[in-house]
Symmetry: C2
Subunit: 142 residues, 2 copies
């Protein structure tokens, strides 16, 4: 299980004990080519699919929120019913496909740097993020 060493390291660095469950969650989240966009529900489903033993929902919530707080996950809220987490924690833009309800990361060069002219005294800009909502071109396709 050499491939898990980095997760164990990651967890340790953030002050979390690398328990079996947490390592498993990290594996599912971070052991992939592309960045992963998921809701807690998605993740819980994936866990129960990939694992024989189940992990309690409370642990999933706790671990995801701990990772988010430590900066290893980022939350992206689409509407009051859908909130995603993103393994790409850098400031970046998204496409949201309203048909499939899928989030897609934008590369740096796919959206030109946004020029913010407004300035609020005493406040600094923490992030500037764009959400592009797309949907099927053909309305009656469904």
């Amino acid at each position: 299980m050499l491939k898990n060493m980095n997760f164990i390291e990651k967890l340790r660095e953030t002050g979390l004990r690398p328990t079996k469950q947490r390592v498993k969650i990290c594996e599912i989240l971070f052991n992939r080519e592309k960045t992963f966009h998921f809701t807690i529900n998605d993740l819980a489903k994936k866990i129960s699919e990939e694992l024989n033993e189940k992990i309690s929902l409370a642990t999933v919530y706790n671990t995801v929120h701990a990772l988010q707080k430590k900066g290893y996950l980022k939350e992206i809220s689409i509407n009051s019913h859908k909130s995603y987490f993103d393994t790409n924690t850098s400031v970046h833009h998204h496409f949201y496909d309203e048909d499939t309800q899928q989030l897609i990361d934008c590369d740096e060069n796919e959206i030109e740097t946004v020029n913010v002219k407004k300035n609020i005294t005493g406040k600094k800009i923490n992030s500037v993020e764009v959400l592009v909502r797309v949907a099927s071109d053909n309305q009656n396709q469904n």
Copy 2:
């Protein structure tokens, strides 16, 4: 109560009966200079402050959602815990003050048109919106 006529008109146009409660809600939402950003909670609180009689939460939810569906309100989701409605229903950008948890509309000219270079085949762009998160410049101010 001549000033309410426009709300009554507005409600009628959207197929909603202009009941006392709905007119009151419209008054609070639309009878103001600036656009109004609010959570359901904010609105319910404002209603009970400004009114002697109370309006049932169910009615507040129903009316707000009906107005949203009809296009008189727009939802802006900041994170999974905070979802705002906006009386400005046009596609536009926002500042979010992370200290005060307040949403601020951007004028057309305060953020330069965002140039989206990416194209997803078969999909058309419905909206492009920017969220600028700001916070106090002075970290230890609180």
